[in-house]
Symmetry: C2
Subunit: 177 residues, 2 copies
């Protein structure tokens, strides 16, 4: 039988962009933004200097050196037994991130083939059975079943099924088999 497909986001889902963003932003801005202080804020509220934020995101190696989210590697390896996994990451806004994202996946997720990596802008034409993402802008319009992965900016959103970590994501998906 054909495996069901899952589109999995990178930033905030496989990669802990929050930690890296806080560190770089504070260093550049002299602020003391912390994980706790930004809970429930929109990204543009949490990192209010947009020019600085874009500068940070355009920095060489920013995306290449992101920490991996806890349990992400083992979870994808396990899910791959029963699902076809596609990595679907918004990246074309920041061209320097493109090759870095492919290299990052190659380092931590070498079992994901290049055929299954998609770097995009909008995710509106992505059609998979499930989409795991931290942004409403992607989940609200996805063609399959949306699964919201908890991030600071989405804790007050209640209209999607939520998973707080990779263990919960695997448990939910395996329930559907």
């Amino acid at each position: 039988m054909k495996k069901k497909t899952i589109a999995i986001d990178m930033d905030g889902v496989l990669a802990d962009i929050e930690a890296q963003l806080i560190e770089h932003y504070n260093k550049a801005n002299g602020t003391i933004v912390s994980r706790e202080s930004i809970q429930g804020l929109a990204e543009e509220e949490a990192f209010s200097d947009r020019t600085l934020l874009r500068g940070v995101l355009n920095t060489d190696n920013f995306f290449r050196t992101l920490p991996v989210m806890p349990d992400a590697v083992e979870s994808l390896q396990r899910l791959q037994e029963n699902f076809e996994i596609f990595i679907v990451s918004a990246a074309t806004e920041f061209p320097v991130s493109l090759a870095e994202k492919v290299a990052w996946l190659g380092e931590y997720f070498p079992f994901i083939k290049w055929e299954n990596i998609i770097l995009c802008g909008s995710k509106r034409i992505i059609n998979t059975d499930y989409m795991i993402d931290d942004h409403c802008k992607n989940l609200d319009y996805c063609m399959g079943k949306p699964i919201m992965f908890t991030a600071f900016h989405n804790v007050n959103q209640t209209h999607h099924l939520r998973v707080n970590n990779w263990k919960e994501a695997v448990a939910y998906l395996e329930e559907t088999l």
Copy 2:
């Protein structure tokens, strides 16, 4: 009314990769491959030294300097009035091509926003109303209406609607409005 969507391939459709490939391949290999000599051949027959071919495709600036296909710019500008255009290009196999493709589009097609650019491997999860591509591996499994753009390697394929150039593509698509 929501505009119908078109996924448009880059290599062989917007960009004349055939001309560039022949030039680079012959220079590296001392061969005399020509447009005429490869008509109807599969890519692996036309460029039989696979290692050399991969080397050429991995060369810095190979994709950045591709010539634009005749009438492509004007055609996309015109189609954009009635359709939503997504550029969908297989690129993750060659990471050096990723940023080059975005820059190339920025130079020749500045009216295409980053939101509408998708760099992928397989196109199997792309869901648009139309897909314009030169490869059966993409068209055979696409979710919308496949439109085959003529290239040397597909001239003997007869199972898809064919357009030989951008003027024909526009004429067909505007007929469907």
